[in-house]
Amino acid sequence: MASFRLPPVLRPMAGGARTVEASGESLRAALDDLTGQHPALRTRLLDDDGELNAFVNVYVEGDDVRVRGGLDTPLAADASVIVLPAMAGGSGA
């Protein structure tokens, strides 16, 4: 099972978990599994065409999947995946 580390803003859509597990031989398959378990994540991660939203970055073993094959990036059984949207805060206000 691949391990997905979620940012704080997405955790409420996964029952509050910081890390969730999903299976699949590619990122696409694992995201299918993940969003099957937690449907509210789907529109946050994927657009209407099923592609990754431009404002969300996904890293497999520390590499941006956009340079590794996008959703077709293969996942090892114990892959470490980090989901990362931009954060606003500089804590000025």
Binding site: V56, P85, M87, G90
Partner: protein
């Protein structure tokens, strides 16, 4: 028992010496040796050979490794008359250095020969005391401290990140700190914005910050801009700036800052925070990715709540802002490896650091292969959610 003169004569007979004229020729060659001046600070301050590295004799053995890590580095050592440098040559040879010579007639002979020298810029006595823990570090030294004192950092935001960054940069002796922030201090700021205090509630943040920094270090000149960063004022604020520290709290400013930093080729030390987590990287124009390469589009508001909306652990900006100060100092000193092309993720809850690799986007609209001259856009419009932007 041998006298000092006997010992000096013996040492001089065993080492290599070089005349002032020959040393000058070698120093102006394509592969000049490292010139180390081992006199005391008060002697060095009154005049030295241009380009010489000052290491007082008593510190030579402990500090030479930082100046010449390779034992085959050609080295010339100078003192005032050629005596201390002769002993210093022998010490370096004992440490394994293979090509060390003594300037036979010292700095005195150099001046007599009419060769060029100057009075180096030096720290005054109070600065030597204040920055002694810096100057002891070989990678900083007095030259590095002088470089910091001659540097300018623009601090964008005097809030959670800007507070620790500003305080540490000021304490470190960054000579000019420009601060831009339009806000005033309120009570809810004090949980984390350590530049400010109860007494500054209601004051403009830039004024509160200036007062605190000037109390901390009178060497620092503070320039204040009590205004929002805009396409109209940013070019003026970036004149003469060496490093930008990004402590903004909103996306329009962040994209504007990115584009203007590319236009002016000034590195940005970026951090952002939320609840228990922070991100840090350095955007170095055209050497690594820019903010748009990382995030081509801002997220919808519900995916990027501000700290005012979602909260932040008070100490988190302390950690991330301190890291920003560290990276800014490294950039100014040109030492170490700033996280260019690396995004550092800190999680205070499990006390972990993760790192992901960032890459320049060849299709980036501002720094990509086909990007034209940088033109500022309407950043508020750019950051509106698509549905609202269309209306």
């Amino acid at each position: 028992m041998a006298s000092y003169q006997d010992l000096l004569a013996e040492v001089k007979s065993q080492i290599s010496e070089v005349s002032a004229v020959d040393a000058a020729a070698r120093l102006s060659s394509d592969e000049p040796p490292v010139l180390i001046d081992v006199r005391e600070p008060d002697e060095f301050d009154q005049g030295a050979i241009d380009g010489s590295v000052h290491i007082p004799r008593g510190f030579l053995e402990s500090r030479i490794g930082a100046v010449a890590p390779d034992l085959s580095t050609p080295i010339i050592i100078s003192c005032q008359s050629g005596a201390r440098s002769a002993f210093a040559v022998r010490s370096l040879e004992e440490l394994g250095y293979e090509d060390v010579s003594s300037l036979a007639t010292g700095f005195g002979g150099w001046k007599t020969a009419g060769l060029p020298w100057s009075t180096p810029k030096v720290l005054d006595a109070a600065q030597r005391a204040r920055y002694s823990r810096h100057t002891l570090i070989p990678e900083v030294g007095e030259a590095g401290q002088l470089k910091l004192l001659g540097s300018t950092v623009l601090l964008v935001g005097a809030g959670g990140l800007g507070s620790p960054a500003g305080l540490y940069l000021a304490a470190a002796g960054v000579g000019t700190i420009a601060i831009v922030d339009a806000d005033t201090v309120d009570e809810s700021n004090l949980q984390r914005q350590v530049l400010h205090s109860m007494a500054s509630i209601g004051l403009p943040k830039v004024d509160s910050a200036k007062q605190r920094i000037e109390e901390l270090n009178p060497d620092v000149k503070v320039i204040t801009y009590r205004e929002r960063l805009t396409s109209e004022n940013i070019d003026r604020m970036l004149e003469g700036v060496d490093v930008i520290v990004d402590g903004t709290d909103n996306f329009p400013t962040r994209y504007l800052l990115n584009d203007s930093s590319l236009r002016h080729r000034i590195p940005v030390v970026h951090a952002s925070i939320f609840r228990f987590e922070g991100q840090l990287t350095v955007f170095k124009p055209y050497e690594g990715p820019c903010y748009r390469c990382l995030f081509p589009q801002p997220p919808p508001p519900e995916l990027a709540p501000s700290c005012a909306e979602g909260g932040v652990l008070g100490v988190l900006p302390g950690i991330m802002g301190s890291l920003q100060a560290s990276e800014a100092l490294k950039l100014l000193l040109e030492i170490g490896e700033p996280p260019v092309g690396r995004l550092i993720l800190f999680d205070a809850l499990d006390t972990s650091f993760h790192e992901v690799r960032l890459r320049r986007d060849p299709e980036c609209p501002v720094c990509g292969e086909d990007a034209g001259p940088i033109e500022y856009i309407d950043y508020e419009e750019f950051c509106l959610p698509p549905a609202r932007a269309a209306t």
